[in-house]
Symmetry: C2
Subunit: 344 residues, 2 copies
């Protein structure tokens, strides 16, 4: 089973991205031909979602190499430029580091351009496989007839395909688990309303959209069997950085005994940090809150605080669903084991 | 100190309402001349906020009398029609009941039309006085240099003037308490962004607007000294029904030890109900979530659950700030005492 759309598609040496700023009212393709196009697409959220950002950035490194093949200094500067497009999702750095490792190992090869292109394609392809495995592994936490709450978009649009949290939901749906989904709209960028709702209706998964602040009453009233959402960066102690609003949900879930899962590939784990306090939280433009599309919803002279992410302490996380299995507490020990087994 | 605007103004036998659907980008007056105009204004949220709805409805009863002076059956039917405009805020029923009581006591008088008009004016004027007293009483819970979080709009626009929760904030500001305010935008109707932010900027109170889901991290991080918000109906055990999102905030506050206040006049207490489970929760149009103004933010075929209110259990409420003083737990006993002293 696959989507009828490609979040990113590499064709004729161009990267075609679904312009996610315009969904669901318009479906348009953004064509990226240079590393600067890639940086813009990530920064302006043409493409978003940690794994999708990673895969897109990989092509950015390839484009940068094409432009600066004979000037390593400029090439590395271009990679840094892409890396700085957004600060929170670790997958951006992960993908660029992986591309640069391949570059350094092969830079004397005549084939280096082809090698980099192939590596970017591999990162994209691996992400889809990874997500299908996350979906498979997630089946164990989704009971029959479950009502599932999700936040933001951790779907096919947030990845190279299939999705992480929404991948778990899709896998459960196609495994005939008779599920029902509540999708938080996810202010201010409305990724839940615009993107998750679009994916859910495309896949005909029974679902309802809610304002973010509705979730708490559903959880309290026993109407949610589990929460599953993505991650933009996970610390080695299991603290989960994800879209703003995740932390609030985690407190409510903990209070009312509802399981709370984060679904993410191992590339989302930042093995260099001990806990979530070390994760930089992106603060985005104030007009994201003052306007919705062209509609003004607040006085122009009203100040705004607009953090894009928050950190959920590992104590509030039931488990992390990865392509290598479901990680339960104690997270520090179990993440270290996973690292030893699959990364080192 | 008063606002430069009148939420409702009775002039030349017409009720002039600020059209709150259009703020902050447009300031227009909606003219209500009949009880049907009043019902529409309440139902479509030209005017909103429990006390403002009550005062508006009082004029509706007067308009209905003017239309059906010689037909009591039709007059009562018209009052019922207004009463059914929205189900949750008890102040609507309270105001209509009060007007009908005056009607029944005076219906044989030649002056009944004037008596009803005067009663409506009295309800409006009393509401402003009441709010000023709520503001004064609230001073005791606002420390010097406090950072205050509020949700929805319980300001001058939600009342005949001054406001309840925002009245407490204004009273503290004008008492030189050096406060700072965070205003939740309050999806889906954006009363925080559109109305509270407008009132805060008008009054030049230092403040920032946030997406609803940002509040939890501010509370956790010790950046909020107290939460104060309004109420649409309060049960005799202290359960507070208020704008959707209130319950979620109350759980976070309880978890992190931040005081949580509801500010409301005694007319918001429903003395006929034991607890919040008996309060009808209005479910509003799905397009309130699918669209923001003209901007579509979700697929048209995505189903929506859009409750306008939620109930916060009294265990999560620190105190209720009324015009007769601040009510602390045990709420059941203390609300009963208040009733004995001021209502019976």
């Amino acid at each position: 089973m696959n989507e009828a759309f490609n979040t990113l598609e590499f064709k004729n040496d161009e990267l075609l991205l679904i312009d996610q700023r315009l969904l669901p009212s318009k479906f348009e393709i953004f064509v990226a031909k240079t590393y600067k196009d890639i940086e813009f697409a990530i920064r302006d959220m043409v493409v978003r979602g940690a794994p999708a950002i990673g895969a897109t950035a990989a092509y950015g490194v390839y484009f940068a190499y094409k432009e600066f093949a004979k000037n390593e200094v400029e090439f590395i500067k271009a990679c840094d430029f892409i890396n700085n497009a957004r600060p929170t999702a670790i997958n951006l750095k992960w993908a660029i580091d992986r591309m640069l490792k391949v570059y350094h190992e092969n830079k004397k090869s005549d084939n280096i351009k082809e090698i980099l292109k192939k590596e970017a394609i591999l990162i994209q392809e691996e992400d889809i496989t990874t997500n299908k495995m996350i979906g498979e592994n997630g089946l164990s936490v989704v009971p029959q007839n479950a009502t599932i709450l999700t936040h933001c978009n951790a779907g096919a649009l947030a990845t190279a395909g299939w999705g992480t949290a929404l991948g778990v939901i899709k896998s459960a749906f196609y495994a005939n688990k008779n599920i029902f989904v509540y999708a938080d709209e996810t202010r201010p960028r409305q990724q839940g309303a615009r993107l998750t709702a679009w994916e859910l209706t495309q896949a005909k998964i029974p679902s309802k959209l809610i304002a973010d602040s509705v979730a708490a009453t559903l959880i309290r009233d026993g109407k949610i069997d589990l929460v599953v959402l993505g991650a933009d960066r996970i610390a080695t102690n299991g603290d989960v950085c994800n879209k703003i609003g995740t932390f609030s949900l985690s407190v409510i879930c903990k209070q009312y005994g509802v399981p709370f899962y984060s679904a993410a590939p191992l590339s989302t784990i930042d093995f260099t940090i001990d806990d979530g306090s070390q994760i930089p939280i992106e603060e985005r433009d104030k007009d994201e809150v003052r306007f919705v599309g062209e509609t003004q919803v607040a006085p122009l002279d009203m100040d705004v605080y607009n953090p894009a992410f928050d950190v959920t302490p590992h104590q509030n996380v039931t488990a992390i669903i990865t392509e290598k299995g479901v990680i339960y507490p104690p997270f520090k020990e179990n993440i270290a084991k996973l690292k030893k087994q699959f990364i080192d």
